[in-house]
Amino acid sequence: MEIGGPDIIKAAAFLGAGIAMGLGAIGPGVGEGFVGGKACEAIGKKPEEAGLLTRTMLVGQAVSESTGIYSLVVALLLLFVV
């Protein structure tokens, strides 16, 4: 089987994109879930602060999400730019 130079680079880029997004999704998924769990615990203790706690949860999750978005951006770069 003949494998050309551009073909093997494309192959590596595709494989890299999958690994980047796949592994990159683990951390934010666990982290955001942890934030959600702690927010539920806090609302259970102080239901009257539910609004404030939900807002804080969402801000915290958004920050935790950022690494997932980095992975997404890198995966898209590997797919469409490289």
Partner: protein, 324 residues
């Protein structure tokens, strides 16, 4: 090619069988160990309930074991089935089947251990609700087993489907990718579902009057935790059933393999994360049942955000399959 078709298929079957039971034994052993550990803790707190606790420990361990038994069955089938075929694709399919079932049994084994152990502790704390606790544990651990069952379905389909008319390039990578997708994605959902189920057993023993709300919240939380493994199953099915045009390009093959790996790894984190959120919600439904509505709402919002990374992974997988 290095070897003739039959030798390659036997090689793939042996490697697949080894991966299948080797990886598949990890989860069940950890889960059963956790159950037995908490059962000892429970016995030391309340020796009068030793019979109930022991019975409950064994039932919990038996459910956790089932994931490893699925892996054992697939491994034995891979070793002893007659796999005569005229295409190298069968080799890829058998390796994929072993990978799918091996990784897929890890999460369910670990996850089923949590409710088993917490149920033993719960019986020592509240012997009067022992039967309700056991029922709740059984429901919770049964849901934990679903990702392992998805993996087994994909493994059996890979082993028994007829791939005769597919082009070898790039279909071999699609079949291998199908194994990775369901297998890896099942890890997160199994553990996540177990976290919610374990906390619900603990909650029922603390506050038995809230049993209905606790079980409901647990089931909603577990259902959302299962979604990443369903995404994995979906990508596997697309990879198995879509017909790909024949190509000599290695890039196309790698795109399909990568799609499976991407969705597989991408499902691990959100599955565990959704379980952690459900765990927090279930814990506080048992302590403060008036806030159950608020807690369920917050749980679902939190899980939806945690789910987003699994959706990114699915988008990249689908782009790899359909656009590249």
């Amino acid at each position: 090619m290095l070897f003739d078709i039959q030798t390659t298929i036997s090689l793939a079957a042996c490697v697949g069988a080894g991966l299948c039971i080797g990886l598949g034994a990890i989860g069940a052993a950890l889960g059963e160990g956790y159950t037995a550990g908490l059962a000892n803790e429970a016995l030391c707190q309340n020796t009068e309930q030793s019979g109930d606790i022991l019975k409950n420990m064994l039932v919990g361990q038996a459910i956790a074991e089932s994931a490893a038994i699925f892996a054992l069955v697939i491994a034995v089938l891979l070793l002893f089935m007659d796999m005569s075929s005229n295409t190298y694709l069968t080799a890829a399919a058998l390796a994929g089947a072993g990978i799918s079932m091996g990784f897929g049994a890890i999460g369910s084994g670990i996850g089923s251990g949590f409710p088993g152990g917490q149920c033993c502790l719960g019986i020592s704390r509240q012997p009067s609700v022992a039967s309700k606790l056991t029922t709740n544990m059984l429901i919770g651990s049964a849901v934990c087993q679903t990702p392992a069952i998805f993996s087994m379905v994909v493994a059996l389909m890979l082993m028994f489907m007829d791939f005769g008319n597919m082009p070898l390039l790039p279909a071999w990578a699609a079949l291998l990718g199908a194994g990775f997708s369901t297998g890896l994605a099942a890890i997160g959902s199994g553990i996540g579902g177990g976290l919610a189920a374990g906390e619900s057993c603990s909650g029922i023993s603390r506050n038995p009057e809230t049993l209905g709300q606790i079980t409901t919240t647990m089931l909603v939380g577990q259902a959302v935790s299962q979604t990443p493994s369903i995404f994995g199953l979906l990508v596997s099915f697309i990879l198995m059933f879509k017909t790909f045009p024949e190509t000599s390009s290695i890039a196309m093959a790698m795109a399909l393999l990568s799609a499976g790996i991407c969705m597989g790894f991408g499902g691990i984190g959100p599955g565990i994360g959704n379980g952690l959120t459900a765990q927090g919600a279930v814990k506080w439904v048992s302590r403060n049942v008036e806030a159950a509505g608020e807690l369920t709402r917050t749980m679902l919002v939190g899980q939806a955000v945690s789910q987003s990374t699994a959706i990114y992974a699915m988008v990249i997988s689908l782009v790899l399959i359909f656009v590249m």
